[in-house]
Amino acid sequence: MEPHSEKILVKGNEAIAMAAIDSGCLLYFGYPITPQNDIPEYLSKHLPPLGGEFIQAESEIASINLLLGASATGARAMTSSSSPGISLMQEGISYLAGSELPGLIVNISRSGPGLGGISPSQGDYFQATRGGGHGDYRTIVLAPSSIQEMYDLTCLAFDLADKYRNPAVILGDALIGQMKEPLVRRSGAKINLPPKEWALTGADGRKPNRLKSLYLEEGELSEQNWKLHQKYERMKKEEVRFESVCTEDAKLVLVAFGSMARVSKTSVELAREEGLKVGLFRPITLFPFPEKPLYDLSKRVTRFLTLELNTGQMLEDVKLSVARDAQVYFYGRPPGSLPSPEEVLEEIKKYYQ
């Protein structure tokens, strides 16, 4: 029996904090913002007794840079925030990517633009999957849709960040951050990680290590950009994760992630009860996006309904992925409320043939 194998009922935010501790991340830096405050509250209580460090920074800008410094020593470190705070971190995330440093950034997203509101939203999809800051880079983006996944994917994010020396993002939202569901603190499959020979620990018995993103010599930066690109291509080959529900015989496949995928899954059940052959394709990695599995699926299924809590962002990736003759429809729900499974079923009926 593992010490944590008991089933507990916790908020998604708490599951992330527990996963951080269980992944050996003892360094947290953050600034309060709704709806993710359970993360810093949990860690401010539990890190110090473990010998860890918790800093409530003066801003999200400071938070991401504290993370950058801590990560440069080879230690696992994280920050968390919600949409407006994540915007402030973009500069630092770009530096993390440019300096090839790991680090976990949790976005329990709320709604925008601007101050927006605190209701669930998926309006940060573009920001998360296109890099978000300046320069040609990507972050690893994982989108949990249950409290167990908040835990499991946080553990995975730390491993992937270390494996690729690249920042990783957990893209959740207010709904799965705040809701409680059963959780088992289980340890996932271990990834063999290379030693962090690049870490800054003092140049003792070795040449000095430098971590930087400034490349001024002729051709140097171009080379670095291609190197990063190859890393992202490798992620596309090795790290794509998705869930497929009832797609084998489906005539219409829903595509949704995160909390929208939860509702969609219930709608698939409702549709099946009415004899409609409907399936669900749920990307778990938003970057790398499951382009190939979706393309392969589109050779059998020609109708797709993308559902998002925004006005159409992942929609673009779905359209880019599917075969040319596939029809991609869209149901968008900008911030305010979540659609009910019955409402989604009505949408399904519009496009089902």
């Binding site: 089933k7 507990i8 009922l9 709704t34 709806p35 605190i118 207010a174 709904l175 705040q178 809701m179 409680k180 569901e181 059963p182 939860r262 509702v263 969609s264 899954k265 219930t266 709608s267 059940e269 409320s337 979540l338 009910s340 499974p341």
Partner: protein
């Protein structure tokens, strides 16, 4: 409860400070202990003592999609604003569970649902601890709905309550039992 296709959802609502989130939490925890799928969704953001507080709980034999419920099977309302907000949303034949210490029974006027009244604050005061009104409501609500075993609720107390309050667990159990007893004796709806 042993159906392999069980599904029930409800909203618990009241003033912040009335302990409504604890009610939802305990029921969800107990149902989880009994092997059910559960979700619990609290309001978040502008929470404060005296403000409104509510939570939505879904208990199911199968994986739960949305933790948000537009039309619940039941609403446990601890104050009038909560009745006004959630009373009309309850599904036909559903249950409106009313704290009649703070809400006039005439406010609950829907005829297509079961209206259950219990003066939880008075009962709590009569038993010497006004702070346990929420536990009395919980006991009665669970007796009415038979969602979980009472023992599962008792066992969940130490998981849900902060350690600082663990010495109060016996008095909480007692309050839950008093509420359940009230519901057993008033099993027929008084104002239907």
């Amino acid at each position: 409860m042993s159906d392999d296709r069980f599904y029930y959802d409800f909203i618990v609502a009241g003033f912040g400070g009335q302990g409504v989130l604890i009610i939802g939490n305990l029921l969800a925890y107990a149902a989880m202990k009994e092997g059910k799928c559960v979700t619990y969704l609290p309001v978040y953001g502008v929470e404060m003592r005296g403000g409104t507080a509510n939570c939505t709980v879904v208990i199911s034999s199968r994986q739960i999609g949305s933790p948000v419920v537009g039309r619940p099977h039941a609403a446990l309302v601890m104050n009038l604003p909560s009745l006004i907000k959630y009373g009309p949303l309850i599904l036909p034949d559903g249950l409106l569970f009313v704290n009649s210490s703070l809400i006039e029974p005439k406010e609950a006027c829907r005829k297509d649902i079961e209206n259950f009244f219990i003066p939880v604050n008075e009962i709590a005061i009569d038993h010497g601890n006004p702070k346990l009104a929420n536990m009395i409501a919980l006991g009665a609500f669970n007796q009415k709905t038979k969602l979980v075993q009472m023992t599962s609720l008792f066992e969940s107390l130490e998981k849900v309550l902060d350690e600082r309050y663990h010495h109060l667990i016996p008095s909480n159990i007692e309050a839950i039992e008093i509420g359940a007893e009230f519901a057993r004796k008033n099993i027929s709806p008084p104002a239907r």
